[in-house]
Symmetry: C2
Subunit: 432 residues, 2 copies
Amino acid sequence: MPHEPFDAVDVIRAKRDGLALSDAQVDWVVDAYTRGVVAEEQMSALTMAVLLNGMSRVEIARWTGAMIASGERMDFSGLSRPTADKHSTGGVGDKITLPLAPLVASFGVAVPQLSGRGLGHTGGTLDKLESIPGWRAALTNDELMAQLEDVGAVVCAAGAGLAPADRKLYALRDVTGTVESVPLIASSIMSKKIAEGTGALVLDVKVGSGAFMKDLATARELARTMVDLGMDAGVRTVALLTGMATPLGRTAGNALEVRESLEVLAGGGPDDVVDLTVALAVEMLAGAGRPTPEAEVRAALADGRAAATWRRMIAAQGGDPDAPLPVARERLDVVADRSGVLARLDAFAVGVAAWRLGAGRSRRDEAVQAGAGVEIHVRPGEPVEAGRPLLTLHTDTPERFDRARAALDGAWDVADDAGAVDAAPLVLDRLG
Amino acid sequence: MPHEPFDAVDVIRAKRDGLALSDAQVDWVVDAYTRGVVAEEQMSALTMAVLLNGMSRVEIARWTGAMIASGERMDFSGLSRPTADKHSTGGVGDKITLPLAPLVASFGVAVPQLSGRGLGHTGGTLDKLESIPGWRAALTNDELMAQLEDVGAVVCAAGAGLAPADRKLYALRDVTGTVESVPLIASSIMSKKIAEGTGALVLDVKVGSGAFMKDLATARELARTMVDLGMDAGVRTVALLTGMATPLGRTAGNALEVRESLEVLAGGGPDDVVDLTVALAVEMLAGAGRPTPEAEVRAALADGRAAATWRRMIAAQGGDPDAPLPVARERLDVVADRSGVLARLDAFAVGVAAWRLGAGRSRRDEAVQAGAGVEIHVRPGEPVEAGRPLLTLHTDTPERFDRARAALDGAWDVADDAGAVDAAPLVLDRLG
């Protein structure tokens, strides 16, 4: 056994007592945890101390670097295209990656979207794409590179080689109540994005009931921390703070969201989904050194350029872009009990309902239903008519309707007129 | 698998966010941890949150009760004698239990001293007594009861049946930097003492460099918390706050401390050891309903009554009270480099030196040396002569001398006259 330069208890005590950890302490504790020398119960005590006592910018950067150093780094410098990536902190109905990746790629920028699966009330991008018959999430690094060079857009599962310390740490934080820490969230996200080797990165930091961050101040702190980490590591990083009080678009669920994404790629779709897709695309193209006017980006949705890239992207991973999407076996309408204007539709409640209908999972090894989810007929600001459907619930297993319906109790307000509708813009702030 | 009424992550989050845990949450989390349903890494995150965010008096009492409920409770009500116990938070040279238990028993009070072994720089009472040839620490409950009835004094190993939750939790806190929490220390000590079933309890809460608590305010908070827990549970509890800036007496080590205890039982010994033994005995006798003047307690040391009980106590557990005590094979004198008055002798440094000489252990399964330790020739306030021994180091393994000597660097000050000597009394405060 090699001699260890530090003792785990001393490192825990230092952070517990409000001290900053030294570079050497951070490097050691992350590495020793990855090697199993620092035990799970020791790391959980340390992460709780970090959550309660914080980390300085210097410590966060070092911690992120140590997580990167725990695994491999990818290198996209051999590609003929510049690279740009997007990361969302997760929301309800957040299918933006689906139209965004082919849209940006259609301008000659490579978009490597190494994604995850859903857990809890927010859906996972891979779960959504897996509702397309034949599509597979797992690619080798060589396949990823070839597709990036050829098609430009790839959405695939992140390999186990990137930041394995983060993988282990995230699983621990999930069961020990230590997820909600800005330093730990920022270093978790950015270690994977920096190790992935993207040239530019746009962060979509969600704020509101359906997001991880419920208030703007904390979301801004997280965004600032991640932008600093990215810039310090040589990644051109921008963050948009965007609203997640209400679901994005008119669907939450896997195949339901693919269908809506296809509408956007066909030049239609809900305004908020289109607007956010375009806003993020403009940032990604600028970050990749291909600044493009917003009107031209919108044109690529309307004229079929983005849709053509989508078809190639899906086909390259075994998917049939023309195959019919799965449809849930059972549906249940949720109707309005009064007429007026929809003033509020709570994103968290809709996310939980979709999850309970089978669109999401509670454990990592659970399967999801491709067709399950929530269809939204009326969005905030739109008229409601008593007795007419507000939402339709979709599932293969109708015994789930009751608990999904229960999640929606109190999830919306109907007002007499549009004056009561929250008029906050979708993009709340931009940090660069 | 039974349905669990709570989720560990919710309980951790509540304490993390500064909320008080409900009675039901406390009962469940302690019980579920004992059953292995709450994992080690979850409990360590919770204990770190408790350390940093605290617990209310109500929570501490409930937590203590839950730890008691995790195991058996003893019952001394069948004895013909009242019971009184003493607990010290641990110090250097703290051999007080050895003369104290037979002294109090010689007044007709039963003293059940369920003790532990040393870890780190403070010695363990069982380690000290095990230097007596033949003496054994393990007794069955029946043997314990019979000896309490017959001899009155028992010092033995605490059985595994008392507060098993605390046993498991203490081992976890030891490796996760979560020892130094007043609520967790208080509940750990008091759960065992209340489960043990003593009628009266005197707490010796040490303060100073050689103690766990370095400052008076924290020591007082710990003492107050423990006294409240004891009184609420129907145990007549008193705490003395006593100084531990300098070692107790003139020895630190196993057989060395037994020898000094025998001097006290023979009516001699260092003043501080005698004074503290008498002060604690007076409190224990009063708590047990046998109030006794201090002069009479002192007389029982001088006239051999306590010594007679000591001989019966040692013999009842297989020890030979007349057998020669082990002596270390090697000695090294540490001499003064100037003359004057010893102004300070640091308890922590002497404790670490004794530990490094072989009197203590670093791991629970390590053996200790019976003869190892530090002999103190000059105590604070006494004259020092340049070139004359201040201390003598004892060990069977002379390669340990260097590291023991290093621990003593800067451990004492010599002043020109007695004006520089700290004149704080041994007993700093009393809480009842």
